[in-house]
């Protein structure tokens, strides 16, 4: 059907751009997360660098058409390196008036709005307080509005497949996806394959989705409603095999990898909680890798099961979010006292209390470091990006196993659900984690120490090493219950020293940029991408700014004080009221500026960039 003229016509209309940020938005029931995922896959397969940000309501399915019910998925993709999902949207796919209203503030001037005109009914408009139809009343004149009868076109596309109206309507997200594919010149094959697999047992649904997907694509191609489609070239990316990875997937893979590297069985006990549940889901499907998962009756039980499994010789891990960590804190204390290896993953969300369960935040750092009774030191590490979740998970396991200690691994909702391309590492390049059970019965003492101050891991079943551990204070070396005052002080200090000693085993903090200058932006956790991008932008403008990102929050890398001392000013952006900043002040008696955002959303690049400029210029 494509004639030569049309071809050349098409070619003319392709505009090359460096990057784009697209957001799909609709009702929670409209399948926006799925569309986003599919678009992402196509984009990474095509070869762009990407970063994504899903955003959905706390309700399973809030009432249709309401502002509260809007679900969105944002993707930033580029021929250059990308560290964030993008501050401003270039194109918004709005499947109803609520989606338009919620997301419009993030659209850049001149951005594209693709709207389903069929959904802009009087009723829907009223539901969200539109007095008149914005698609028609010229209020959107600053934008490129593409108003199309999307629902109707979808119905037409799936006609004749015998679907009832409701089911048919459910496919319309794929029409939008097809259109987006055309607009950004993405390959459809991965999605086609996915649909074929997913609906292998429901051929009518399969057909419908494929038809409407293609209809959307062809509509873009033929309808001439866009002045141009866009082409974003492949990014220059180091060679290798890649896959898309979200933070939660990264953690799941990191844990499985760590278990293999340490040659220990992996036990994952968890109680479902947003946004950590996907780690449980992912690992529970990994029995073929020998992974055992345990959905416990609550978070306390999950942590206690971890203690039992660790005593038994497993690499034992639990995952949760802030409220779950609160519940686990007594049992974490037991793991500290018994000096058993364990990893506690906290995928942080908005707090306090139940807070904003589906939103991101970095406000559990205090809890991780200080949130237990007594002097109860626990190493804390934090992941910086979805892919970094993989590495940080391995590192958390390594520390736990090598130092015989529980370790807290901080992620957050933004990292957990966001995704980026990940170069699949060469398995052999991953470092072995060298840990052995203690089996030597001569002079065995459960609380003797190795050079790292770790105690021996002697597991049940080992002849002649029977011993008892518990939460009461232990006698140095023997591990017997002991109430002696001097022994207590000795042990409190010993446990502290052990954790402090991890400093000797971790890499120094790296500086991105010059080692001295006017300003250092110090970050941790998911703020990485925005900080990197903002600092690089400022550096391109020859500003005297560097950045450094802490993976190790307790203990800090040895050179941190030294790094800080190289700069006139320090800026610490955090999605909290200044928790890292508080700790840095105390540890080093150094003042710093905080950039604090507590909106359930990640930093925008610009927010940080502007603060940098402000600090440098004032």
């Amino acid at each position: 059907m494509t004639t030569a003229t049309e071809q050349s016509h098409l070619v003319k209309r392709v505009e090359e751009i460096e990057s784009a940020t697209v957001r799909f938005a609709g009702d929670s029931g409209d399948g926006m997360q799925l569309v986003g995922e599919q678009f992402t896959t196509a984009t990474v397969v095509f070869g762009n660098d990407i970063s994504t940000l899903p955003d959905y309501p706390a309700e399973i399915r809030a009432p249709a058409g309401t502002l509260a019910g809007v679900s969105g998925f944002q993707i930033n993709f580029s021929s250059q390196e990308v560290h964030t999902p993008g501050d401003r949207i270039d194109a918004l796919f709005a499947l109803n008036p609520a989606a338009l209203k919620v997301n419009l503030p993030d659209l850049r001037f001149g951005g594209v709005i693709v709207a389903d005109a069929d959904a802009f009914t009087k009723e829907n408009l009223e539901k969200v307080g539109y007095k008149s139809n914005p698609l028609e009343d010229d209020s959107l004149r600053e934008y490129k509005v593409v108003s199309i009868p999307l629902s109707d076109m979808n119905f037409k596309a799936v006609e004749g497949l015998g679907l009832d109206r409701k089911t048919a309507n459910r496919c319309k997200n794929f029409f939008a996806l097809g259109l987006a594919f055309w607009l950004y010149d993405r390959p459809m094959e991965p999605t086609i394959r996915w649909v074929q697999q997913k609906f292998v047992k429901r051929p009518a649904i399969m057909d419908a989705n494929l038809r409407t997907l293609k209809a959307g694509y062809h509509f873009g191609e033929t309808a001439e409603i866009f002045t141009s489609s866009y082409r974003i070239n492949r990014a220059v990316i180091p060679p290798g095999t890649y896959r898309k990875i979200s933070g939660n997937e990264g953690i799941a893979m990191g844990l499985v990898a760590a278990a293999k590297l340490a040659n220990k069985p992996l036990f994952y006990a968890s109680y479902p909680i947003t946004p950590a549940s996907d780690i449980l889901h992912s690992l529970s499907a990994k029995k073929n890798y020998g992974v055992v998962t345990f959905q416990a009756e609550d978070e306390i039980a999950a942590m206690c099961a971890v203690i039992g499994a660790a005593y038994g010789g497993s690499l034992a891990v639990t995952g949760t979010s802030g409220p779950g960590v609160a519940l686990k804190s007594e049992a974490i204390g037991l793991a500290v006292m018994t000096e058993l290896p364990a990893v506690i993953v906290n995928v942080q969300r908005g707090g306090p209390s139940t807070g904003l369960p589906t939103k991101t935040e970095q406000a559990d750092l205090f809890q991780a470091i200080f949130g237990r009774n007594g002097e109860c030191p626990v190493p804390v590490v934090a992941a910086a990006t979805p892919a970094d979740c993989f590495e940080t998970a391995i590192e958390a396991c390594r520390i736990a196993l090598q130092f015989m200690t529980p370790v807290i691994l901080l992620s957050d909702g933004y990292l957990a659900n966001g995704s980026e391309p990940w170069r699949i590492p060469d398995i052999d390049s991953l470092p072995k984690i060298d840990v052995n059970y203690h089996t030597n019965k001569y002079n065995f003492q459960p609380y003797s120490r190795n050079e790292r101050l770790g105690r021996p891991w002697a597991v049940p079943g080992t002849p002649e090493l029977q011993h008892r551990i518990g939460g009461l204070e232990k006698q140095h070396i023997t591990g017997n219950v002991n109430y002696d005052p001097d022994n207590h002080e000795y042990m409190v200090k010993l446990r502290d020293e052990k954790i402090h000693g991890i400093q000797e085993d971790i890499p120094p903090l790296e500086i991105n940029g010059d080692a001295t200058g006017d300003l250092l932006v110090l970050g941790w956790g998911g703020a990485y991408g925005s900080i990197m991008t903002a600092v690089e932008k400022a550096r391109r403008e020859k500003r005297s700014v560097s950045s450094a990102h802490l993976r190790y929050l307790n203990p800090f890398p040895k050179n941190l004080e030294n790094v800080l001392s190289g700069f006139k000013k320090i800026l610490i952006p955090e999605l909290n009221l200044g928790q890292l900043r508080f700790i840095i002040r105390s540890r080093f008696l150094i003042d710093s500026e905080g950039l604090n955002k507590i909106k359930g959303k990640p930093f925008q690049v610009n927010e940080i960039y502007e603060k940098i400029v402000d600090l440098l210029e004032n």
Partner: protein
């Protein structure tokens, strides 16, 4: 290989000084446990005692096995993680009426319903011993204690009713001073595959002395206790002259020989009944209205949690095409950059 010398009860004692009050019922339970370990010749290093907090929860220190003295109420959860990953170990949970039924009630419930193959031994002294005498969930209604100087107003739990209501597959009761009976019950618990829940009436001579005198005392016990035996009618009294009968709507005490009642009219105990109904019924018999049953209330077989889980893992490992990290990392959509 030379056969190992048989282990005697005292071979199972650890080197730690036992620190219960002189006269505490816990001593007797410890002694019987060691005896049962010797009877079954349990390999020391393959046994783990897990406990919570309380006088009773000091138990693990005194056995020369592996052990975890956990935190208050959480022993069943600790045991779950251990047993799931190490199904070959003999795992024992030691708990008290406060530890197991107050703060730890939920973990107990779930360990039981999952049918983990662990042995849960609840030392019921109807009081908080370690914290010096507050009432517990099994204390009698109206109990005056440090925290209830005017008498408690909550209705006590019946540990066995709770366990049966939570789908227990093995449920039994014994008494600290009935050493032979206690040893038999502990041995049966150890032999049962799946969760075993044993309540032991334990005297706390400091804070609740004599709580079970009616059942422990040699002169009273025949009238106040009925020993359950599988397949046998429920009879009690010095000369087994009394019995328990189901009258169509409830249990009642009858005297054999009176009103034409013979042994054949009595309830016959069936610990293997698939339905937990009759075990539940027995768990409701309480002194002074009834003699209290001791022995095995229920004893049925069902696959255990850890067995089923490990089967899933084994099956997945065997049938999964490729179990390497490589294949894991490459699962899903991948692409190559050259």
């Amino acid at each position: 290989m030379a056969t190992l010398p048989k282990l005697s009860p005292k071979d199972y004692a650890s080197d730690q000084e036992v620190r219960w009050c002189p006269g505490c019922g816990d001593y007797s339970i410890l002694a019987q446990m060691k005896k049962v370990f010797s009877t079954l010749q349990i390999v020391k290093e393959n046994a783990v005692f897990v406990s919570g907090i309380g006088c009773s929860s000091r138990f693990p220190y005194y056995m020369d096995t592996y052990g975890i003295h956990g935190i208050h109420g959480r022993a069943p959860a600790i045991a779950a993680g251990l047993k799931i990953m190490r199904p070959e170990l003999s795992v024992w949970v030691i708990t008290g009426d406060g530890d197991g039924l107050s703060i730890g009630g939920n973990h107990l419930l779930h360990a039981i319903r999952r049918n983990l193959d662990i042995n849960i031994i609840l030392f019921n002294n109807r009081i908080y011993g370690l914290t010096k005498g507050q009432y517990s969930p099994t204390s009698e209604f109206g109990k005056k204690t440090k925290s209830t100087p005017l008498g408690s107003v909550d209705y006590p739990l019946h540990p066995l009713s709770v366990a049966i209501g939570a789908e227990a597959t093995f449920v039994a009761r014994s008494i600290d001073v009935h050493v032979k009976h206690l040893a038999d019950v502990l041995e049966a618990a150890a032999r049962h595959k799946g969760v075993s829940f044993v309540e032991i009436y334990q005297n706390c001579n400091i804070f609740n002395d004599g709580a079970y005198e009616y059942a422990a005392d040699r002169s009273q016990r025949f009238d106040n206790v009925v020993e359950l035996e599988h397949g046998k009618p429920l009879q009690f009294g010095k000369n087994k002259e009394k019995g328990i009968r189901w009258n169509g709507s409830d249990l009642e005490i009858v005297t054999i020989g009176e009103n034409g009642i013979s042994e054949k009219d009595l309830l016959v105990h069936n610990e293997k009944a698939e339905s937990p109904a009759s075990a539940f019924l027995l768990s409701r018999m309480t002194y002074p209205q009834f003699p209290e049953p001791i022995g095995i209330f229920r004893n049925i077989e069902r696959p255990s949690y850890e067995e089923l889980i490990q089967n899933q893992v084994r099956h997945a490992l065997e049938t999964g095409s490729d179990n390497s990290l490589e294949s894991f990392f490459h699962s899903g959509e991948t692409w190559v950059v050259e």
